[in-house]
Amino acid sequence: MSVDTATVAKIASLARIKVTPGDLEAMVPKLNGILAWVEQLGEVDVTGVEPMTAVIPNTLRLREDITNADPLTGGGIRDAVLANAPAAEHGFFGVPKVIE
């Protein structure tokens, strides 16, 4: 499969990356080069093979049901959470208006 400029524009929009028409022209051949190369996977017989989900077997753990047991991942740290925000306002993340 190969992609054209319209497809790349669509993918870029899904990925929320603004692209100029010049960017698109430059990206299409490079992306097609990569996609043509990964096509080779189609020739592998995977009948009855399960897709890999965990590379090293592990069990999912439940944490202790204690609030803020680890202060690094606990709550009550609003100022630390907002410290790197480009536009923190009144204790919230500021964003452009989203209600029309």
Binding site: M1, V3, T7, A15, K30, V55, I56, L72
Partner: protein, 493 residues
């Protein structure tokens, strides 16, 4: 007096503990070396001489007070700028995180500080660890301290941990952290004549490491010797409840059990790695490695890893797919860069921010990842790749029924020149020997094997069974003892 910057990690540890010199003297010597090399090598994104001195002062005070010292007491290190360090800018070498100062410390870096190490600075890397040459950093390329004889062209230090490899090789840090997703510890180690190990997936906590491809990312040490790697890995590894994929296993005392005696061990040589057109000098160094391991007492066995040839294509679907999900978090709202054009709405702000903040290679991988995960293509690309990944892991399982470790080259060539590889695919093909072990989550290390006819280092790779870092380190030590690698880049900076 000993030149402190020529010492290994264990040499520094033992010298500080024995009172031959103080941790403060060591930190001062490395701070000076870092400052002197920065302009020429660009190995660091930020330097933190005060942090190194503060950690050293604490070690010296603890020693004077007779308190027990940590495993890395008095050792100043470089930290790949992918680990969150509290109050110290953490960028992943991307503009999108410029100025980001974490409010928390990554688990691995915290463990290193707890062991008595100090921070010399944050090391440059390929942007979001995506690259094999360190050319995709938004903070400038790293130049390898190595040069070809009578040739001043700048060579790649490898990638993505290129700041780490350059800094260790130049002896401006005694050791550094790296992370390895498809070879990002091993390939730069091979390019610069140093050692580095990627442990079993889950050994080192990923908490606080900027995520690239979560099912592949693993942290590990990069240093001068196998023993140094063993010591530093002990300090970095261990269970962490904050990482759902962390292995709940005790950390072995790898250093104490190091042995280059391989009697009774079997070493597999994968025939599929003997690629058509394999560089003759790389093939020769592989043969040297086989002879060294035989000399150490090991039996050499021919093995087959039939799906190896599909590993790269599998990797370049899975890693971008995971990256496209992980990097969705950079949206200009919570941290990092925001680009808000006049009158833009929220969606336009996201798109403008990500266009301005991500580099070309990062965008390319996000787009590939988004495409292979999109409706209509998911099964053909992503599910197929995950199935082939199962087959690649199964090949290793079968092989490890016959052998204890596998020996292969680390990379298909020695270091290339900066700017030499302009097609992304050419760059990807350089990961051919390192990616299979990553896809299978196996421990793997690179150790220096010798110099090629251009005077540049070549590395050998040892791949082990899951959880058998000891077997990998021991085979690495057997090679180190026989390769007698003592070459250093001639100082030109």
């Amino acid at each position: 007096m000993t030149n402190l910057t020529d010492l290994t990690l264990t040499g520094i540890r033992d010298g500080v503990a024995g009172g031959d010199f103080t941790a403060t003297e060591v930190a001062g010597a490395f701070n000076a070396a870092v400052a002197e090399a920065q302009e020429a090598l660009n190995a660091f994104i930020v330097t933190t001489p005060e942090a190194a001195l503060a950690a050293a002062a604490k070690v010296d005070a603890d020693r004077a007070a007779g308190k027990p010292l940590g495993k890395l007491a008095g050792v100043p290190i470089g930290m790949k700028d992918l680990f969150a360090t509290k109050g110290v800018q953490t960028t992943a070498a991307s503009k999108i995180l410029e100025g980001f100062k974490p409010e928390y410390e990554s688990t691995v870096s915290q463990k290193l500080w707890d062991a008595g190490a100090g921070l010399l600075g944050k090391l440059n890397l390929d942007q979001f660890a995506m690259g094999s040459s360190n050319e995709s950093s938004a903070y400038g390329k790293v130049t390898s301290p190595w040069r070809r004889p009578n040739d001043t062209s700048a060579l790649a230090p490898g990638g993505s941990s290129g700041g780490s490899s350059a800094a260790v090789a130049a002896r401006i840090v005694p050791a550094a952290t790296g992370t390895d997703t498809g070879g990002s510890i091993r390939q730069p180690a091979a390019f610069t004549g140093i050692s580095g190990i990627k442990p079993t997936y889950g050994r080192c906590s990923r908490w606080g490491i900027v995520a690239f491809a979560s099912s592949l990312d693993q942290a590990g040490p990069m240093a001068h010797t196998v023993q140094d790697c063993a010591v530093m890995l002990e300090a970095m590894a261990g269970f962490d409840a904050k990482d759902a994929t962390s292995l709940d296993l005790p950390v072995p005392n790898w250093e104490a059990a190091l042995s280059g005696d391989l009697k009774g061990k079997k070493v597999g040589i994968p025939r599929e790695y003997r690629l058509e057109g394999l560089n003759a000098e790389v093939a020769k160094s592989w043969d040297d490695g086989i002879a060294w391991l035989k000399d150490a007492g090991a039996e050499v066995v021919d093995i087959s890893l039939p799906h190896s040839k599909y590993a790269l294509a599998t990797y370049y679907i899975i890693a971008p797919a995971e990256a496209s999900s992980n990097l969705a978090r950079y949206d200009g709202v919570r941290y990092g860069l925001r680009d808000l054009p006049d009158g833009a709405n929220l969606q336009e702000m996201y798109a403008a921010t990500r266009a301005a903040g991500f580099g070309d290679e990062v965008k390319r991988r996000i787009l590939i990842g988004t495409y292979v995960l999109s409706a209509g293509f998911y099964d053909a690309y992503y599910t197929q790749a995950q199935k082939v990944r199962t087959l690649i892991a199964r090949d290793f399982e079968e092989a490890f029924k016959q052998v204890d470790v596998i020996l292969a080259p680390t990379a298909p060539t020695s270091a290339f020149a900066l700017g030499e590889k302009t097609n992304p695919l050419d760059m990807y093909l350089g990961d051919v020997f390192s990616v299979p072990a990553s896809l299978a989550g196996l421990p793997a290390m690179s150790v220096p094997a010798g110099l090629d006819s251009q005077g540049l280092p070549l590395g050998l790779q040892i791949i082990g069974r899951p959880f058998d870092e000891q077997g990998v380190l021991n085979a690495g030590l057997a090679i180190e003892q026989r390769a007698g690698f003592s070459a250093k880049p001639t100082k030109w900076w």
